[in-house]
Symmetry: C2
């Protein structure tokens, strides 16, 4: 079965619709998704950005917010603009990495809902505890594990891998052959590529 | 009949596949396209960029070139990386503006072919003269008209309109209601929006 890596950042706007629809798209195609949270901050800092490029470049920011309205409207997803934007996704990423498999995916979707549908601060332990409770996990245990050195190291390692892959932003799909597909509107293409790559057929269907 | 403005820049990579397929997509939908060449340079300069962001940010540049290979491969379009990149599209934009209607569209496609399929310099009068000849126009007359003050003023005015619209890059489709769709992969969505907007139906189909 084809496997695809789904790289996402909790502060990233387009990662929200991507996270909400990736599993459905994968199931339709018989592919499996590995959820890989990472941080854009260190990658952006290397490019000289100390803030979201959507804040640094207001023309791009205005376009993105209007486009996000259209994208979410088309998917029937509520959208509230986080304040402040971008949110700090460090703790959420650590909690996600402290979980595995379907728990990580369900927690991640719950965080995106809190952030972009309900406008709640995702650097707040209460927000993350509520997200954990909502999916039937013990908030205190997960939040404690998220602060362990091993989890912090793992997130740093994941960010180094993302850097090594050359991810230009989030979300990205990465197929087994290393092909990168950037953006919510490239999920279908990335999944289709991954399926053909795993079948030993190079290139696009 | 729905009309959509197609804003493009001759130096822009994704404007190449967009220019090659926009008319087919529009005809399929019964829409008409107004070809509006402009320059990204003045807009980028306002954001502090004195070069293509794909050169300033190599991670984005590497991703874009690989993505362009996939896009062009999927469309059956040849792709050669212009050297230097980006090309200077000023004279080509003036020639395009000096033409009207189908001549402008055909000339623009011929310039994109010369630039991205054949690797020819588009700031070279010989390249533009060949593109004009290929579509049955008198090269000397068109090149002379392109240097007239009225055409230069018109290009400046078009760039000012692009700035006022808040175009975040190229290519962009702009519907009659002002909605902007950025990118080669948003042409279908932009056309569909324009058709619904012109029918008095707000929003996405």
């Amino acid at each position: 079965m084809a496997k695809v890596d789904f790289w996402y950042e909790f502060a990233s706007t387009y990662s929200y619709p991507a996270a909400m629809r990736i599993e459905t798209l994968a199931v339709e195609r018989g592919a499996t998704v590995a959820w890989r949270p990472f941080l854009l901050g260190p990658l952006f800092a290397e490019q000289g950005w100390r803030d979201s490029p959507f804040n640094i470049y207001p023309v791009k920011g205005r376009y993105m917010w209007r486009d996000m309205e259209r994208v979410c409207d088309g998917l029937g997803l509520p959208l509230r603009r986080p304040d402040p934007f971008p949110q700090n996704g460090l703790l959420a990423a650590r909690v996600a990495l402290a979980l595995e498999g379907e728990s990580r995916a369900a927690f991640s979707r719950a965080v995106y809902r809190a952030e972009f549908a309900e406008g709640r601060p995702i650097d707040d332990r209460a927000t993350l505890a509520a997200a954990l409770s909502a999916i039937g996990l013990d908030p205190e245990a997960a939040l404690a594990r998220a602060q362990e050195g091993a989890v912090k190291d793992r997130l740093r390692a994941e960010c180094a891998i993302a850097r090594g892959l050359g991810l230009p932003g989030a979300p990205c799909l990465v197929a087994a052959d290393g092909e990168i597909f950037w953006g919510n509107d490239r999920l279908e293409q990335g999944l289709d590529w991954a399926i053909h790559a795993s079948a030993g057929v190079a290139g696009r269907p």
